[in-house]
Amino acid sequence: MITRLGRWVLSRLRRFLPEWLLTAPSLLWLLLFFVIPSLLVFTVAFRPPDPYGRIGEGWTLDTLARLMQPSYPAILWRTLRVSMVTTLVCLVMAVPAGYWLARQPASRRHWTLLLVILPFWTNFLIRIFAWRTVLHPEGFLQTSLVKLGILSSNASLLYNEGAVLVVLIYTYLPFAIMPVYAAAERFDFQLLDAAQDLGATRFQAFVRVFLPSIQIGLLTATLMVFIPALGSYAIPDLVGGPSSEMVGNKIAQRVFTDRNLPHASGLSALLALAVILPMVIAMVVRSRHPDKVPVEREKGGPREGGAQG
């Protein structure tokens, strides 16, 4: 019995040891710099604040209670709304861009892809400050719009939710285009011919064949835009105003102004849940996606069971 168990353990070990050795470094990294810090953030939310800005002794549920304060649901809802609109606009723009990129001849495709990632060569903050210049009340855009009579002179392009949205979309669009392009590039465009041949219009072919075929790319693009947008802090801070604060700004405020780390932790935990939840949903969708194997199993199942019984 023992030798059998020993042999079983050995065989398991032999089978999975290489796999473990390969994954160990990344697993360790994730554990040290993601799992443990996340747990720390979650625990700090249950500690009392200290008047000097440190974490106090003992445990308390005060912070959680304070998270219920009336201004938060509005900010949380705004954060979600702004992130969702950003994601949606990015997707709507990325799909035709990805489609077009994938249909380009290889030589031109490399240049156009380079153009997509070109903005990353300039520092993120510098690009936001550039937007501040563009949208500034005395900037080129506003003065010309006022001159053309499209905008009244006391309207502002800067320091509102619109500005936050524009800069968010600008910043995250490449992150949407890349996965959509990667999926579209693997797409067999002959399938669109086939769909049209079977009587579908161009639009029908696009919706019923192209979009479902790149759904993994769409899902990745959604996560790549939605999650960072949700946690954005610098953009609403620099181009937004008091009416367009997001959760990220509140966290920063709790840390730097109020020096209340437990409260900031509580907000962070809330945001983290808002990020992890859609990821879990996406993973469930993904694991269901590959093929409808279960249908076949159901069919074959009883017959196999019968034979065994």
Partner: protein
């Protein structure tokens, strides 16, 4: 039989390259019509114009009497089986087959019935719920056919449908295609570069080369009476004898003077005049090969030769026989047990005979009309 498809002087160019040049043909209702040619001959472009993926630069394509040349693919009653099947990877076999009817917005029950009927036809009920990635190449092929046939097209276009399959499966699918054609009775237009596929399936074959149809006829016609050097060489093996008409014998025969071989008697497939330059094509299996000199009637040709190469292939043996300045391909079917006789071996002296009727004087050489005697006797 009336024709279902009429193509009239269709032209198509990509840039400066004229891919299809003044092609005209007509396809009869219910037949299997093959477009055969080497890659780049324009056959696929012609098919894509019939399907609607390309528009001809000029000419008309009449489908059942109406010109469809300028209609998009979704408005033609023509469906295609693509070379790599082009099945929708995200849809199951049944959903792939149903796609065409769903796009039309047919009622659910009707779609279900039709899909059921199609699964019957291709005998794939047990795979209906599988994704294309879970079935084999031959099964994908059948799904692609069912998906196209469910639309009840006037013509089914098949673009090199068997090219991606291995030999055994290809032979099996040929029979399968033949069965499906017999069952549904729809006109098939079959594009291929494989002469065996074309020969075994088709009622008519159009042989294309460099954008033009070199010859159009039944499989037997294009094999036995190739019009041009290209057709003679593309379909099967052949021996070509370029020569000059020495004398005309009555209304049916003529003597050819073939430099490096001698005088040979040939049937006049077209009227020839003494002094005219012609090329005679003779298929390898038309020869009779013997060790002893046979006594032959005057209507047969007799030539001595020496065996150069022997390739034994089981059902037949290919010989290369040196004959004058020519190396001739000779094919001998083993309709008798080979082991009983003393085999012909390398460097044996042999006699070749063939009936004058079995040679075929080509209409033209390389697609251009045969040169007239006047033009050629100039030097």
């Amino acid at each position: 039989m009336e024709s279902i498809l009429e193509i009239k002087t269709v032209n198509k160019a990509f840039g400066a390259q004229r891919v299809v040049r003044d092609v005209s043909l007509s396809v009869k209702r219910g037949e299997v019509f093959s477009l055969l040619g080497p890659s780049g001959c324009g056959k696929t472009t012609l098919l894509r114009m019939i399907a609607g993926f390309e528009r001809p630069d000029s000419g008309s394509i009449l489908l059942d009497g109406t010109d469809v040349a300028q209609l998009p693919p979704n408005r033609r009653q023509v469906n295609t089986v693509f070379q790599n099947y082009a099945l929708f990877p995200h849809l199951s076999v049944a959903d792939n087959i149903a796609f065409g009817l769903r796009a039309e917005g047919k009622p659910k029950i009707e779609i279900q019935e039709e899909v059921h009927r199609m699964l019957d036809l291709i005998r794939m009920h047990e795979h209906a719920h599988k994704k294309p990635s879970q079935i084999s190449g031959g099964q994908k092929q059948r799904v692609a056919i069912a998906r196209a046939l469910i639309k009840k097209p006037k013509i089914l276009l098949l673009d090199e449908p068997l090219a991606a399959l291995d030999l055994k499966l290809r032979q099996h699918m040929l029979l399968e295609l033949d069965r499906i054609h017999d069952e549904v009775g729809i006109t098939f237009i079959y594009v291929t570069h494989d002469q065996d596929e074309a020969m075994s399936l088709s009622d008519h074959i159009a042989i294309m080369n460099e954008g033009v149809i070199e010859q159009l006829g039944t499989p037997a016609e294009v094999y036995e009476l190739p019009k041009s050097r290209f057709v003679a060489e593309f379909i099967g093996d052949t021996n070509l004898f370029p020569g000059k008409v020495a004398s005309v014998e009555g209304s049916d025969y003529c003597h050819l003077e073939v430099p490096g071989l001698g005088k040979i008697l040939a049937y006049q497939d077209r009227p020839v005049a003494p002094g005219e330059n012609v090329t005679l094509s003779l298929r390898p299996e038309k020869f009779n090969l013997s060790r002893e000199k046979p006594t032959v009637p005057s209507i047969q040709n007799l030539l001595p030769g020496v065996v150069d190469t022997i390739i034994y292939m089981g059902s037949e043996t290919r010989y290369v026989v040196r004959c004058g300045e020519f190396k001739l391909n000779v094919l001998r079917q083993h309709n008798r047990c080979l082991l009983e006789e003393k085999p012909i071996t390398w460097e044996d002296s042999v006699w070749l005979t063939w009936h004058a009727d079995d040679g075929n004087i080509l209409q033209s050489t390389n697609g251009t009309p045969a040169t007239t005697p006047n033009a050629d006797s100039a030097p």
